[in-house]
């Protein structure tokens, strides 16, 4: 346990002593901030229009502002994750520090979990940028907090999944660009897999669409926590980390 925290602590330090943490947080804050501003401005203009014309339909700030914001945060997060995960093992392999880790009295799993958790902390710091926007909504209105909570849960599970995959890819190369690029491509693919459901109704079409990471995220942003989505994410995380462990083991045999 202590070893995991030692590794995790170093990873977090590495992110925050280099510009990458601030760059990612800044970019993410900028993009989601703009999205939040647009959604809110639209929401306000529609609601004033309704007041002017006298029709007063129910306007749900959760549905019009928060759900889209978290949904978009999920998509953008998908694209930022490769930038977080690419260095995890690739950098150590290039600089030779992997020899320090692999010859220290700690297990491979402790190394992997430590690194993955370190990347998770970085990811959480990034998505925490959206809390600023949502906090503003709480200051001037009373949105339902439950879909917000589930939305964040979904974001965390999705990020953890993609990070686990990215961690695995990072063990396969010592080139960070290759690690980041492949992870990005896989993220993109996992996103668009859901399109299959648009035109195919066969069992394999459904199976492919089921693998799409975003389809499992949508219910969360609407306030629904479905066990099957949680299980999907947890098993994907396990698969990613399991592959990482196998890859690290094979590194010893091949190196």
């Amino acid at each position: 346990m202590r070893n995991i925290f030692t590794i995790c602590g170093r990873e977090v330090n590495a992110y925050f002593t280099s510009p990458i943490a601030y760059l990612l947080m800044g970019l993410f804050g900028l993009i989601t901030g703009f999205m939040f501003y647009s959604a809110t401005a639209y929401f306000i203009s529609v609601s004033t229009q309704q007041q002017m014309t006298g029709q007063s339909g129910p306007m749900d700030i959760g549905l019009y502002v928060i759900a889209p914001l978290l949904g978009n945060a999920g998509v953008i997060g998908l694209f930022l994750v490769p930038l977080i995960s690419m260095r995890l093992f690739a950098e150590e392999k290039r600089s030779g520090t992997i020899e320090l880790l692999l010859t220290s009295p700690i297990s491979d799993w402790e190394i992997i979990l430590g690194k993955w958790l370190g990347a998770m902390v970085m990811y959480l710091a990034i998505i925490a940028m959206t809390a600023v926007n949502i906090g503003m909504l709480f200051a001037w209105s009373t949105p339902d907090w439950r879909p917000i909570l589930t939305g964040y849960l979904g974001l965390i599970l999705q990020g953890a999944t993609v990070l686990a995959i990215g961690t695995f890819i990072s063990t396969t190369t010592k080139n960070q660009i290759i690690a980041g690029g492949s992870t990005f491509a896989i993220c993109l693919l996992l996103w668009v897999l859901s399109w299959v459901s648009n035109y195919s109704d066969t069992w394999y079409g459904k199976a492919i669409a089921y693998c799409s990471i975003l389809t499992h995220f949508e219910p969360f942003s609407k306030g629904i926590v479905d066990t099957k989505d949680v299980i999907f994410y947890l098993s994907a995380i396990f698969l990613g980390l399991f592959l990482t462990a196998r890859s690290l083991e094979s590194l010893r045999w091949r190196a």
């Binding site: 202590r2 070893n3 030692t6 590794i7 602590g9 170093r10 330090n13 590495a14 002593t17 280099s18 392999k93 600089s95 030779g96 520090t97 992997i98 020899e99 320090l100 880790l101 692999l102 010859t103 220290s104 009295p105 700690i106 297990s107 010592k174 590194l251 010893r252 045999w253 091949r254 190196a255």
Partner: protein, 324 residues
């Protein structure tokens, strides 16, 4: 302390090391000598549990490298060829990180870090970022991380490579100061280093051990007689040559450069003849001045070259460098 029996490591079809066996006792400093790609790094990586052996039995401090890998790693300090440093960390933070990795109890970590910083004289760079250190300092940080948990066995892969002579001397002194508490294996291709710091030498070539011996015994292995350089003042070259050729045991007299007014020779003796006293007597009895008389060509360097040449395989196996 270290026991290697029939170790073989193969990469695909290339043998990095082939069926090597050796033993290292407690407190010994062993020099691992060989050309680049001879299998030194591979052997060290097997000892440190970085690579599993293809076959053979390897144990360190009584623990097997495969069955009890974590116990072996606790007992080993390892400095790889490139010191495993994180350039963005400060020296002190880095050593704290390594101390925790090596399983030192949290309460003892600051004390241990202070101790190694003192021992490796890193006090004035404690808060410097590793990326900004000179090569000599980096190597010292590398040694510091290897000894931080006070391991009984130290494995140092080319600890002085790439350092300037001054830094090399410092590194060697540091290593020498570690002997006694630790069993040390260090690899190198600098022979004078072995002569200075090691009690025992293992010479490895093309993946096979060709000699395991003490430095002193290796000197005795030299084949043929000795070479003696001599310089004389007060006579012509022909006279001296004639005289020297008559000394018992002299096989060959070869002329060699000498300053104005002096004559110099290199003399090869027959096996088992100590020719130096007779040479000196011959010169002095002739009334000439003997200005120089010393043995040459007795360095480990020549022994090494001779050993690796005579037993080198025609088809050398490929190196075991990290290709990842």
């Amino acid at each position: 302390m270290i026991k290697v029996e029939g170790l073989t490591k193969r990469y695909a079809r290339n043998y990095a090391v082939k069926n090597i066996s050796f033993e290292v006792g407690k407190g010994e400093i062993v020099g691992f000598l060989g050309k680049n790609g001879a299998g030194k790094t591979t052997t060290m990586r097997v000892l440190t549990c970085f690579l599993p052996p293809t076959s053979g039995k390897v144990s360190v401090a009584g623990f097997d490298v495969i069955e009890q890998s974590l116990d072996v790693r606790k007992n080993i300090g390892y400095l790889p060829e490139t010191p495993p440093l994180y350039p963005e960390m400060e020296v002190g933070d880095y050593l704290t990180f390594v101390a925790k990795l090596k399983g030192i109890p949290s309460a003892d970590v600051p004390k241990r870090v202070d101790e190694v910083i003192e021992r490796t004289a890193l006090g004035n760079v404690r808060h410097t970022i590793i990326g900004k250190l000179s090569k000599g300092y980096r190597q010292r940080v590398g040694i510091a991380q290897a000894i931080i948990h006070n391991p009984p066995v130290l494995i140092l892969d080319e600890p002085t490579s790439g350092l300037d002579p001054e830094q090399q001397r410092e590194a060697r002194q540091l290593i020498a100061s570690l002997s006694g508490d630790h069993t040390i294996i260090l690899s190198t291709h600098i022979l004078s280093e072995v002569e200075q710091s090691c009690s025992k030498v293992i010479i490895i070539n093309a993946g096979e051990i060709i000699a395991v011996d003490s430095v002193a015994n290796l000197h005795l292995r030299r084949k043929g007689g000795e070479m003696v350089a001599i310089q004389v003042k007060g006579a012509s070259e022909g006279e001296v040559r004639q005289k020297l050729e008559l000394v018992r045991g002299v096989a060959k007299v070869i002329g060699r450069d000498a300053p104005e007014g002096y004559v110099g020779f290199e003399i090869e003796s027959l096996e088992q003849y100590a020719v130096r006293p007779d040479l000196a007597r011959a010169v002095v009895e002739s009334g000439w001045d003997l200005t120089e008389l010393r043995t040459v060509g007795e360095s480990l360097e020549e022994i090494f070259l001779e050993l690796t040449k005579s037993e080198a395989k025609p088809a050398a196996t490929k190196t075991g460098e990290l290709t990842q």
